[in-house]
Symmetry: C2
Subunit: 456 residues, 2 copies
Amino acid sequence: MNHTQPQPIPTPIDDTIELVERHLSARDLPALTEQLGQLPVPDVVLAFERVSSKERAVLYRLLTKARALEVFELLDPTLQSDLLHGLQDAEVTRIFAELDPDDRAWLVDEVPAALATRLLRGLPEAERASTAALLGYPQGSVGRRMTPEYVSTRKSYTVAETLERVRAGLADAETVYTIPVLNDARRLVGITSLRELLGADSDALISTLMSDPHSAEAVEEAEIAARRVTDLTLLAMPIVDSEQRLVGMLTIDDAVRILEHEESEDAARQGGTEPLRRPYLSTPVFSLVKSRVVWLLVLAIGATLTVQVLEVFEATLEQVTVLALFVPLLIGTGGNTGNQAATTVTRALALGDVRPKDLMRVLTRELRTGATLGLMLGALGFGIASIAYSLQIGAVIGLTLLAICTVAAVVGGGMPLLARAVKVDPAVFSNPFISTFVDATGLIIYFMIARAVLGL
Amino acid sequence: MNHTQPQPIPTPIDDTIELVERHLSARDLPALTEQLGQLPVPDVVLAFERVSSKERAVLYRLLTKARALEVFELLDPTLQSDLLHGLQDAEVTRIFAELDPDDRAWLVDEVPAALATRLLRGLPEAERASTAALLGYPQGSVGRRMTPEYVSTRKSYTVAETLERVRAGLADAETVYTIPVLNDARRLVGITSLRELLGADSDALISTLMSDPHSAEAVEEAEIAARRVTDLTLLAMPIVDSEQRLVGMLTIDDAVRILEHEESEDAARQGGTEPLRRPYLSTPVFSLVKSRVVWLLVLAIGATLTVQVLEVFEATLEQVTVLALFVPLLIGTGGNTGNQAATTVTRALALGDVRPKDLMRVLTRELRTGATLGLMLGALGFGIASIAYSLQIGAVIGLTLLAICTVAAVVGGGMPLLARAVKVDPAVFSNPFISTFVDATGLIIYFMIARAVLGL
């Protein structure tokens, strides 16, 4: 007899799996995200049970925070630990770490806090960073620098219970001196310290010892969080997710390292070079050249402006060659005044003493400062130049110094704020940059005044 | 009847007292020091018992460390505590705080460690600094920044005993997490931490828990000690006297504050201004001017060099006015190259990556870096200038750029090291300073080459 193999009737879930698998193999993550968003949670769980552990990890990472939590709880325990390993899998983390920030737009949410910590714990620092990327903490965020190896306690625990937790945590915890206090929803509600625990009697409740916590969100810029740690002189600061759930701690020594790196970067930028990756003496000359050549070229090209300006006034120069003698002095002084203002304001920004919204206040202060400096130098310049050359030349030099110092101070003070306002590192408007800019402006001012005074 | 008052026969000790009192009223401290040095200890004690508590404090401070300890032990207890108060007396501290370092040469020794701590404890931070001066710790030394409020233990103590000391110290101690270990001579022999204590069983001996300590001498530069704390990421580091006796601790948050202050200072100096004492916006314009005007004047006066150089070459300028067009471009590029080198090397010095003895290595690296940059810019400059003007002008510009970049890099890289070698803050050879220096040199190079190439 002839038997025909009975065709299995495709069920909606089969289609789903098919779709999912097609998208997966095509690495079409955005499409997957959208599709998973539409599926009812139980179907998602079903889908999870049918795919490989790597694929499961990828899929999981595409769920919204709320669903991720639901799904995780519905998974059977073996699959849960399976999933955790999958999420730490080098290949899986790579898939996400390699995404550039824009593509991460659809990487909908952070991973639930409970998972985040479990994922990061026990990982060597290097892998931690890449895994943190997978958790949705952007490049340069404190989420990438925090440690998950901490000891926490609960409001309802006693001192004795907490000390037990501390003893248990001693082996792994990176910091045990600052102890974050959580409520039953794992939310950060307070902070206490080993010091306070030692002072209290052992059956006292933590809720009576804890004080209001300072904290930072995992997605915040690492530098800002680090600055908070050192400004408040904390030994460690809790890092939370968008729902105030504890995900890690930023220790003061990591904060110091973060800030030191920033300082080096600012210092380098101020000097118009890229920061070095290794100690000076172990940096190959080639890398030294690389760290400087780009800026040097940009500045040199900017400086050709001065050539063009001078060409415009070449006639004036030929008539009164003596004017050429003062060019380096005048633009030099302008550059110096600009640098002084820029340095002061840049540092003030780094320390948080000044904000972009203070622009007007800064400008008026620099205007007054620059004008005062200009008056002093101008008077001096007028005196010397009138004696050495003529009263007219003296007037030109004096007035130019006054004008240049004022302009330079305002430009130098304003640039860093504008940079910050447009989210550029203020230090990028480095001193050389400002000098070059002020050079051209200064020359124009100089020759305009000269023409007016000398009646050319 | 006539009675004649019987004259008391002057004993040697009376003379001593007289002498002492004369010197005291004359504030002739050096003479006092010498005299006290010759007296046998018992006589010193006698003298101490006869003078006022303020005078006693002054006298005491003039004893050598060894004698100071002897004398203190021989004094009767009431006088001992008297002396301690006398040494904290505002007027007494002022007498010594006001001495400039040279005069302090004869301020023979540090105060014995045991006393030092007792003196500093319980003082508000402000008075601590002035008292530390009295103890013989120079301006800017870590002795002025350390805290005396710490908890220490002994090799021979058990964990339980130490934890008791910690609990007892909780109220006052500024730091209880890092615990220095002393031997019976009060010398620092090890370090342990509250963390380790919690991990050990309560009857274990400290000697079995402690590890080798990192430390700094109280007279060491605060910045260097602070850098050690952050580099080794210690929470606190023991500060000892010249005999390894514990006098205080430097906590990481104080270390961070010290370094932050240094950073601000360096940043300011790099920009050729004095650091501000208060936040930018709350600094009066007048102070802003003050922080800048001196440097600006110095640099302006330095810049008159360029005027003189140009005067020398005025004839050449009149013949070929086009040469004037490139002056700002050329000296600007020189200044930038110099700044880049100076910034990199200054930062390397601050981080301890480079030492003055590395001068030759730095110079050769900068020579090669500068030459390479010069070749690149020179080639570019030659190309552009030959097209825009003439082959000859192109040659002049190209060669000048090559020469200037090389010189500037070497000068910029060398200056900070020379500064450090002669114990001047490297950041003082600020970028503006180097620009000005390079400006003059650059002009000479430029016109020499121009004359040679153009055969003037």
